[in-house]
């Protein structure tokens, strides 16, 4: 069997990214919740809030270690498996990654040690500042990573330089204030806050069901409910779609998410459910809500959203234009001072990436026939049914979280925490759901970007390192075994410490802190 190193590299990157993203949202949300709990402690002086900070902090610590560790993999992989990508866009993409290290990652990682070890060495206010710095560092970290990721979806502020054969920065402010990146940041951190809130709520529900640590659990329940309500409203209202109109392929992404094959009159209707039929390019049994999609996608009632078929035609035109740039590029590389050629190149430069789409089928895109060009244009359609369903599950979960936190908020505001045990059970069972939503959201964003790794600039197939399939298979299998083992250990520890509950920090199993103190003295 012929192993495809690109496919294997994609699988490896996808799996390790999804794995990393198990820990990231919880770090984002829980760090803010910890800072809020400790703020209450410092303001009221009530010990129980310190106990809460320390207990949830313990679970935070287990999660944080995994998040940091698996994040290193992500940074490595651009170089190991996507060498051409690193060369082609490192001039831009490397900048937010390096700034993330300088500005954010150093901050959170340096202070997280003090968060755990500094309780007896810092004043209350100093320790509170440390906790906030960890939370701010984590969130800034997300900002810079999403600026990098946003640039992959909407590569602004950069131009291709034929002398170096790569993209180079022309305007860094555009890269930083990229609307897609900003939309992604707000949406992703809000999703992280929801994750943190569901985590605290679910475990608190469990304590309340068991009748353990009731005072502790009620306070945790209340703070998670209000924080979760605000976050779940933000995550839905500040959805990612506002960035989807920014560029051609972002439009393709939203058309694919909606399985909208043909362009509709503005404002487009929203397909609540239906059955996307890729072969016949239609969607069966669709239930439509008038005007909603147009409103979500364009924030207007007059702007038209193009359908998939129209976008494929655009792609075809751009491939033809890109081929002009590609042809001239070969000459320019040999003779950089040919001004006439250079002008042609500059006129078609923005479509160069589209010509590279042909490299999937042939080494020399200049040999492409009309049929090849059509095929490459068709290839710009991402996996419609997958995007359609993932998006709907994610959004459905988003509305469920609003309902969940809305009810929880009412219960806590009226002090009826334990009145409805069935609600506590739902709260507990909701525990895995924010992860489902977050991972699906990630899949929608990144699979919706295919076949591009950098939208309109570099096709995924071309971005990989020239490794053999066997090599990548080896590392992929290594990751699967290694990560699965870690996942089991991590989950086991989390459950163990959640079961132990607050006030029982001693690592010895089944021993309460009181017993531990006795045996120590």
């Amino acid at each position: 069997m012929d192993l495809d190193p690109v496919l294997l590299s994609r699988m490896q990157f996808g799996l390790t990214a999804l794995y990393h993203f198990i820990f990231v949202p919880l770090t984002l949300g829980l760090s803010i919740l910890l800072a809020m709990m400790e703020s209450v402690y410092v303001m009221t002086g009530k010990e129980i809030w310190k106990e809460m900070t320390q207990f949830w902090g313990k679970l935070f610590g287990i999660n944080f270690a995994m998040g940091v560790a698996t994040g290193i993999t992500m940074e490595f992989q651009f170089g190991t498996n996507w060498a051409y990508y690193s060369h082609y866009v490192g001039d831009i993409f490397g900048v937010p990654l390096a700034i993330e290290g300088l500005m954010a990652f150093f901050l959170e990682s340096s202070f997280v040690g003090l968060f755990f070890f500094g309780w007896n060495r810092l004043s209350k206010l100093q320790h509170l500042s440390v906790t906030w710095l960890v939370a701010i560092g984590s969130n800034l970290s997300a900002l810079w990573i999403l600026i990098a990721n946003g640039w992959m979806q909407n590569p602004v502020g950069a131009e291709f330089n034929f002398e170096t054969m790569r993209m180079e920065v022309t305007d860094i402010t555009q890269v930083i204030f990229n609307p897609v990146a900003q939309a992604k940041f707000v949406h992703t951190v809000a999703a992280g806050y929801v994750t943190g809130a569901v985590f605290v709520l679910a475990i608190s529900c469990w304590y309340l069901l068991k009748g353990r640590h009731t005072a502790f659990a009620k306070r945790s329940f209340a703070i998670a409910a209000s924080f979760g309500l605000a976050s779940s409203l933000s995550v839905v209202v500040l959805g990612d779609e506002s960035g989807y109109v920014a560029t051609e392929h972002q439009k393709m992404k939203i058309a694919a998410i909606e399985a909208m094959w043909d362009t509709e009159e503005a404002p487009a209707s929203f397909t609540l459910v239906g059955w996307p039929d890729v072969e016949n390019r239609t969607t069966h049994y669709g239930i439509h809500i008038p005007a909603v999609l147009g409103l979500i996608g364009t924030r207007s009632i007059s702007q038209q959203l193009p359908g998939i078929n129209e976008l494929v035609q655009h792609a075809e035109q751009r491939i033809r234009s890109g081929l002009v740039a590609y042809r001239v590029l070969q000459d320019l590389r040999k003779n950089p001072d040919d001004l006439a050629q250079k002008e042609i190149f500059l006129n078609h430069r923005q479509d160069l990436g589209y010509a590279l789409l042909l490299k999937v089928f042939m080494d020399d895109p200049l040999q492409a026939t009309d049929a090849d060009i059509k095929r490459a244009a068709e290839n710009t359609i991402p996996n419609v049914p997958f995007l359609f369903w993932s998006f709907r599950i994610m959004v459905g979960l988003g509305f469920f979280f609003i309902l969940l936190f809305g009810s929880a908020f009412l219960l806590s505001a009226t002090q009826r925490f334990t009145r409805y045990p069935w609600f506590l059970r739902i709260g507990l069972l909701a525990l895995p759901l924010p992860w489902v939503a977050a991972e699906l959201g990630w899949c929608v964003a990144e699979l919706g970007r295919q076949p591009w790794v950098i939208e309109g600039v570099l096709p995924t197939n071309l971005a990989a390192s020239a490794l053999s399939g066997g090599t990548v298979l080896g590392s992929l299998l290594g990751f699967v075994v290694f990560y699965s083992t870690l996942a089991v250990v991590d989950a086991w520890l989390m459950v163990k410490y959640a079961r132990l509950g607050p006030g029982e920090h001693h690592p010895q199993t089944g021993q309460s802190s009181a017993q531990a103190q006795e045996s120590a003295s």
């Binding site: 051409y84 500005m103 003090l114 920065v169 250990v489 991590d490 520890l493 120590a520």
Partner: protein
């Protein structure tokens, strides 16, 4: 002022910055790696191990960011170097990655269950997590001197033709030992500073051995580089302002060329002298119980060693043994002028801040880690 920040100077500055980050990593995370690598030798009981681990407990997490930042900075400032080194050393990087993942997890998970098999398993992980990166980094640097088999096609696609086992040649392994002994020395010096009693005593013994191994292997490696292998030289004219294109120059190999910078500028010999004097000084100072000075002295060794290698390789980063002309130098593997400028200012703002708050954290956590301390804080410490 901005005149000074022309493309040529920024390329030089970034070459220096990468060196500074590498030294920052080896000094700071170096002692964490070193402590982990000697864990089985300096700490016999669980309490002793906890003393050793807790001596680096509050700070290892921040320290390892030096490494991640180094990676990010190479990505941003020298993308071709990042692409070539990481994809070329594919399995070596994978090994480092596994080691760097089990380490944080080990620190955090080890103390969470009071079971001797559980803790022994994580001790092994921490040991591996200390030794493997220390050796692999040395092996990688060693291979840079020998040249690495890679080339580019006309689209600048990178082709690497060497395998993993070829990296483990005698010279590279020797540099691996230099690196390991250097970081163990750094770790042992730190442990002498932070602990007392048996752990500190054994750390002193490890320090003596590591120091001796370092001095001997460093000298052998120096002689080998000077007389036992060919160095690389650029034979065409270098335009330090030209757009980055490694294929635009010609390169050849010459015996003794890795010494060329030293003969041209004998002041550079100060680096190897610092490396050796720092090691011997640290040894003397540890014996004299002047632990802070010993740590500074050992850190100077780390800086001197990395500077020695950098001064020899300059202007090369990664010579290619397969297509000499494709060798990566700081003149033709860098980012654009704009990117180097942006990153220069970002570093200028944030690096001092990092140093300030890191120093504050060390001040807060100053003092010895003792057995009584770890016993009475078993819930809140590692």
């Amino acid at each position: 002022m901005m005149e000074l920040l022309n493309y040529e100077n920024l390329r030089l500055i970034w070459w220096l910055f990468i060196g500074v980050l590498l030294i920052g990593f080896a000094v700071m995370d170096g002692f964490d790696l070193g402590v982990a690598a000697m864990l089985p030798f300096v700490a016999r009981t669980d309490n002793e191990r906890r003393v050793a681990i807790n001596s680096i407990g509050p700070t290892w997490e921040g320290n390892q960011v030096w490494f991640i930042l180094g990676g990010g900075a190479v990505f941003a400032a020298f993308p071709l170097l990042y692409a070539t080194a990481f994809s070329g050393f594919y399995f070596a990087m994978f090994l480092v990655l596994v080691a760097l993942i089990v380490r944080p997890v080990g620190f955090d998970f080890r103390h969470k269950i009071d079971d001797s098999r559980w803790r022994a398993a994580w001790d092994t992980c921490l040991f591996i997590g200390g030794v493997v990166p220390a050796v692999v980094f040395g092996v990688a640097i060693g291979n840079l001197f020998l040249g690495v088999p890679f080339t580019f096609d006309e689209d600048m696609r990178l082709f690497y033709t060497g395998g993993f086992w070829a990296l483990l040649n005698p010279f590279a392994l020797l540099v691996g030992v230099v690196s390991l002994s250097m970081l163990v020395m750094q770790g042992a010096t730190f442990l002498s500073l932070k602990t007392e009693g048996d752990v500190a005593r054994r750390a002193g013994q490890v320090m003596t051995i590591a120091c001796a191994v370092f001095v001997v292997t460093f000298i052998i490696a120096g002689i080998w580089v000077s007389y036992g292998m060919d160095g690389y030289v650029i034979t065409s004219e270098v335009n330090p302002l030209a757009p980055s294109n490694p294929l635009a120059k010609t390169v050849s190999t010459e015996s003794g060329a890795w010494l060329a910078n030293y003969t041209a500028n004998p002041l550079l010999f100060v680096f190897p002298v610092i490396a050796l004097a720092g090691a011997l000084g640290a040894r003397v100072l540890v014996k004299a119980q002047a632990h802070v000075l010993a740590f500074i002295s050992s850190s100077l060794t780390v800086a001197g060693t990395i500077a020695t290698a950098g001064a020899s390789l300059f202007p090369f980063f990664m010579p290619s043994s397969q297509n000499l002309d494709a060798s990566l130098t700081l003149w033709d593997a860098s980012s654009s002028h704009t990117t180097l400028m942006i990153m220069f200012f970002a570093t200028l703002i944030f690096l001092p801040l990092i140093i300030i708050y890191t120093s504050w954290i060390y001040r807060v956590m100053r003092g010895k880690v003792t057995e009584d301390y770890v016993k009475s804080n078993s819930g809140s410490l590692y």
